[in-house]
Amino acid sequence: MAREITRRLKTFEFTPYLVLGLALIILVVFIVYPLSKVVFSSFIKLGDAPTLRNLTLANFAQFSKSTLYRSAFLNTMVVGLVCVLFSCLIGIPMAYFVAKTQTPFKTFFLTLGTLPLILPPFVGAYSWILLFGRQGVINYFLDAAFGFTLPDIYGAPGVIIAITMSTYPFIFLLTYGALISADPYIEESAEIMGASRWRVIRTVTLPLVIPAIVAGALIVFMRSVGNFGVPAILGGNFYVLPTLIHFQVTGFFNLNAAAAIAMVNVVLVAFAILLSQYVTAKRSYITITSTTQAARVSSSKLLKWLGTVFCFGVIFFSLLPHLTVIFTSFTEGWAGTRYPTKFSFDNFRRIFEIALTPIRNSLFLATTATLIASVIGTLLSYINVRKNLKARWILDLTVMLPFILPGIVVGVAILVGFSSGLLILSGTWMIMVVGFFIRRMPYIFRSTTASLTQIDVAVEEASTITGASWLTTFRKITLPLMAPGILAGAVISFATLMGELSTTVILFSARWKTISVAIVEYLFSATIGPAYALGTILIVLVLSAIFLANRILGRRMSQMFKMV
């Protein structure tokens, strides 16, 4: 018997358990542990020892005592809901025009319509003030020509406009996807029964894409209530929960209060998820599609022109802030004058003198975090797809949590988790890498899961039976076949990490400022030139990463965002 056991041990393949076990341990240490700790510490008062006896609701009581807390909560709700509404008002018609009418330049709209998802919204946020602010160009001309000015956009209106213009693509792309994959025969059968065009849209087309709209609305809501950068720059006294969290962390270093606000922020998100599931559960349509026929397109000339104007308008308006950033970065002393008078590379010259470190830091942190996220995310998706775990949903949820949670909440969790206790990382670059990698791992996890489910298990079995060990099979067969999925996820991770702000703002230290932190600091000190020069560099870096990946993968940008 003993000999039998030793022989079994000798022939047992440890490698998969070792490698995959390691990935699971990392998951527990860097996601489960800090998240549990932040929940716990939200019930502890600042300065109290973290014991069960010290549990208290005092941190949460602030929401009934403090007007600042109350208004931040209400403001967050308003921003979330209004942004969802506006995103739908922009995204749904745009999706309809691109999918169902003869509007030209469809690829152009789809590609540029994806850009706002990749370009960090805070970079362009200040442009709204430059353009539409009280001292802005538009108001200057309006005043000069017609003698009136637009209402002030500083505060709530600016925040809502800036966020909406960066979130509407979720509604646009998801609705577009649903519209083009819907069975055209369904609409035709409604028409043959005598329904008019509007009636078909109202009673057939729209109801069929409602699940997609709800999914998009949920992401828009999560992004809006979790956005830190835009309200930080445009909000002024208009506080939302993320800026309140930041205020508690940097102003008072009260991590416990920040944790409690974070919890409330999370509850908002959780409530939105439950609501969206409730809505879609009643409306899960399974359409049996037997045709590969493309979606039917309306031949109306009116809709064609309406669509062209609308889509161009939206694209122009949503990219206007970033165009302004690039334009302004080549000017001198604008924002002081009415409009730019002198063009030069001065701002860039200054950047290369004083701000090379943030660029280097961002590149280093984003690359490191992307690499770690790629390795761990790939291994975890392998476990998720190939190992028949009973608790698969737990793994899935744990990996996806940092994607669902607002970035600043993840930042607080990581700071709470690793500024005391067994593993202390605060103040180092490592804590930033941890925050970055757990926030972007979901991208890699999703895209590799998608490519792994398309690989026939028999292909791996064929390698095994030929004599390859688990590691050899993984290295020579599975990994090469997953590579496109890994690359797609990695590029999006890298591109969005380059301009990451909401987690960074909690975790960065003086030595490890990133591009995004430097931009915000310049903006706060009203040095627009260097801020926009850095912003331009950031935009160029992000776009070239995406462009390169598109070349390698041969995919369109909007396709790369399919998993979100």
Partner: protein, 378 residues
């Protein structure tokens, strides 16, 4: 089985059982399966889907762990060896070629893992690709090959490193009918040249009969019968095997044991089986089910033929090599339709005609009546 046969057993499966599922839902995929596979033979596991044939194969490969029982290969316990150390070649139903590797690299894969010198690798790959007749495709990717070509490359990849055992899991099910017939002959030829012990899984009884040295017919996780194709076809040991393999007629009757037994049917007609098999002559019970293949009967236009059953022709199907007659017998007593195959059209017999059906006693068989439930309800 003779002494000599015993000494040549390569793979021995003993009391293999496999249960899938957790506490709530359990499926017994294999139930006490025992098989002996001899060196160099092509052994087929045949049965309908869900009979356990693929599970058996996957246990031999090592992809499934048996719930109990053991598998011995050349006297070594196979069950504790991980699949990649078993030195097995396997062809999958989907071929499972590596889509990112060229045909050459696909075939060379096993040799690279065995760290063969470059020259030997090239030589072996070239030889095996030649054996399967696809010299011109080496640089292409699998997606550029037709189904039949992919099939052969899968076979070449499985054979190139001289495995001790070759497993084929429904390898022809993705090919069209004509190619299927051609490829099964190819597989047989290549297997014979490579002299490799082979287990072949299929649900197609014609394929099994034509390609195998021996066949195990499986049903519901158990082995129903093991034998050569001739034995399985001509001498099935149960009604189920008789029904699954080929076409068959089953007629309930009373049996009068005799040197030439007399069978009495529900119509009152009776026939005497002359030259009958041991099975019929040794049949003890007074009731039985007569099993007779369509080609072991004869249609006669002479309605009053002695020692025959009266019937009426319902349908005549011309199948090329045979002519199949659907004949209704026992017309006044719960009629039953039987099939009779003739080499050519019987002169003077058309649809609707009254005919006599003769039974050739030497190949007929009797089964106990309680096996009737094994007949699949159509």
């Amino acid at each position: 089985m003779t002494e000599q046969d015993n000494s040549r057993i390569t793979l021995s499966i003993r009391n293999l059982s496999k249960v899938f599922g957790g506490k709530n839902e359990q499926v017994q995929a294999l139930n006490d399966v025992s098989l002996d596979i001899r060196e160099g033979e092509l052994f087929t596991l045949l049965g309908p889907s869900g009979c356990g044939k693929t599970t058996t194969l996957r246990c031999v490969a090592g992809f499934e762990k048996p719930s109990s029982g053991r598998i011995d290969f050349l006297g070594r316990d196979f069950t504790s060896i991980p699949p990649f150390r078993r030195n097995i070649g396997m062809v999958f139903q989907s071929y499972a070629l590596f889509p990112h590797l060229s045909i050459f690299e696909n075939v060379a894969y096993g040799l690279r893992i065995r760290k063969l010198p470059r020259k030997d690798t090239e030589q072996k790959v070239n030889r095996i690709i030649q054996l399967v007749g696809l010299e011109a495709t080496q640089k292409r990717k699998p997606s550029e090959l037709s189904g039949g070509q992919q099939q052969r490359i899968a076979l070449a990849r499985a054979l190139v490193y001289d495995p001790q055992l070759l497993l084929l899991d429904e390898p022809l099910s993705n090919l069209d009918a004509k190619l299927r017939v051609y490829m099964r002959e190819e597989i047989r030829r290549i297997q014979q040249q490579a002299k490799v012990t082979t287990i072949y899984v299929t649900h197609d009884q014609e394929e099994a009969l034509s390609i195998s040295d021996r066949i195990a017919v499986m049903h519901a996780g158990k082995v129903s019968q093991v034998g050569t194709p001739d034995e399985i076809y001509e001498n099935p040991n149960t009604i189920r095997v008789a029904d699954f393999i080929g076409q068959a007629n089953f007629l309930t009757c009373e049996v009068q044991a005799n040197a030439d037994p007399v069978l009495r049917f529900r119509s009152g007609e009776q026939i005497t089986l002359t030259n009958s098999s041991d099975n019929v002559r040794g049949y003890q019970d007074t009731e039985g089910i007569l099993f007779v293949r369509p080609e072991q009967m004869e249609v006669s236009a002479a309605a009053n033929h002695p020692n025959s059953l009266k019937g009426q022709v319902k349908v005549i199907l011309y199948l090329g090599s045979v002519v199949r007659y659907y004949i209704e017998i026992f017309q006044d007593h719960d009629p039953q339709e039987i099939l009779v195959d003739q080499d050519r059209r019987v002169h003077g017999v058309g649809v609707g005609d009254a005919v006599a059906v003769l039974v050739h006693g030497q190949e007929a068989k009797l089964f106990p009546t309680e096996q009737r439930q094994q007949l699949e309800k159509a």
